[in-house]
């Protein structure tokens, strides 16, 4: 439990710091900030692990693990995995079309919105433009005289995604 507790407590600290930073400062490079803060909190995991008592002093036998490398690594893994889970939530909140749609639907909770009304509020040119800019900024696309083409990095990602879609028989998707 020592490793798991240390991993969980470190994530709680990370979560508080990250929420405070994003709340009080307008962060433009969000992915970099998320990862950077996670890395900064990493040494805290070691301190937390060292500060917690050995399982045999605190927990009953079925929940006690020796303080060895595997226990230490398990906690570290938990800290990483909770972060990944949180990142998924973060990006859903930030970019998900479904989430944005649900939020727009709260405008008229009783009557709801028709597809026409929804597309008037949630404009496609804005949505597409936002994504094109982000992909150019991230180095996946290049714009030349109004034409968009993929970079080598973009080609690689497109090819991996297309292969996975075919493997799982997912259709064009998007």
């Amino acid at each position: 439990m020592r490793g798991l507790m240390a991993g969980f407590l470190t994530f709680l600290f990370y979560f508080a710091v990250q929420a405070a930073v994003f709340h009080f400062r307008k962060v433009s490079r969000r992915a970099v900030a998320l990862v950077f803060l996670w890395l900064i909190c990493l040494p805290l995991y070691v301190l937390c692990y060292l500060a917690l008592p050995d399982d045999s002093l605190l927990w009953p036998a079925p929940l006690a693990a020796p303080s060895d490398g595997v226990t230490f690594f398990s906690g570290l893994l938990l800290y990483f995995f909770i972060f990944m889970g949180y990142a998924q939530f973060f990006y859903m909140a930030e970019s998900s079309v479904g989430v944005r749609t649900m939020i727009e639907l709260t405008a008229d909770p009783e009557r709801g919105l028709s597809m026409e009304e929804l597309t008037r509020i949630y404009r496609y040119d804005w949505m597409l433009d936002r994504r094109m800019k982000r992909m150019i900024h991230a180095g996946y696309l290049i714009e030349e005289d109004g034409w968009y083409r993929t970079t080598s990095r973009g080609r690689l990602v497109a090819s991996v995604l297309a292969r996975c879609k075919r493997l799982l028989a997912l259709g064009p998707g998007g």
């Binding site: 439990m1 929420a19 994003f22 709340h23 969000r30 929940l63 006690a64 693990a65 060895d68 226990t71 398990s74 893994l77 938990l78 995995f81 909770i82 990944m84 889970g85 998924q88 909140a93 930030e94 970019s95 998900s96 079309v97 479904g98 944005r100 749609t101 649900m102 939020i103 639907l105 709260t106 909770p109 009783e110 009557r111 709801g112 919105l113 028709s114 597809m115 597309t119 949630y122 496609y124 040119d125 949505m127 597409l128 433009d129 094109m132 982000r134 992909m135 996946y140 696309l141 034409w147 993929t150 497109a158 995604l161 297309a162 996975c164 879609k165 799982l168 997912l170 998707g173 998007g174």
Partner: protein, 175 residues
Amino acid sequence: MLKGLVLALFIFLVFLIVHVLVFRAFQPTRRFDAMVRIMAVLGALMIAIHRLTPATMGFLPEPYVRAGWAVDLLNGLLVFGFLFIGYCMFYFLVDRGFSGRIMIEIESSAQRRLRQAEIAARYSLEMVLHRRLTEMVEIGRVVLDDGRYRNSGKGRSAAALFRFSKKFLQLGEGG
């Protein structure tokens, strides 16, 4: 703690294989639902294997299997659960990623380049929204009534949570 970790990795590998086979063979319409069901069945199988096999499973080194059975199982289930969540992140990127779809459309075009209007023509907003709304109706977050979409109770809670998160974290309108 090693037994739980090894079992989690092994069961997750089995999950990936079963997931690919099921999706290829049956092409389920409610895909995420199918993934969760496979995960739940394999999670139960993992618990059974963990309880029925010796701590070393016949090949693990003795010094690393001295943890109590409950913490070992808990650790294994956490790792398996989070591997599943991490995989879901990748899966949604593959299945629904709008940006990914744009790159694939550009790559598959004759000249391997497109104008923004051509991208919009290949993949319209109605298609994007229709797909999302259909899925949200299926999972009970949105209700379709007389051609109008509105949030269900579940959808209202989710919208409130995400609206708060967006505002608190200064994420902008997004979407």
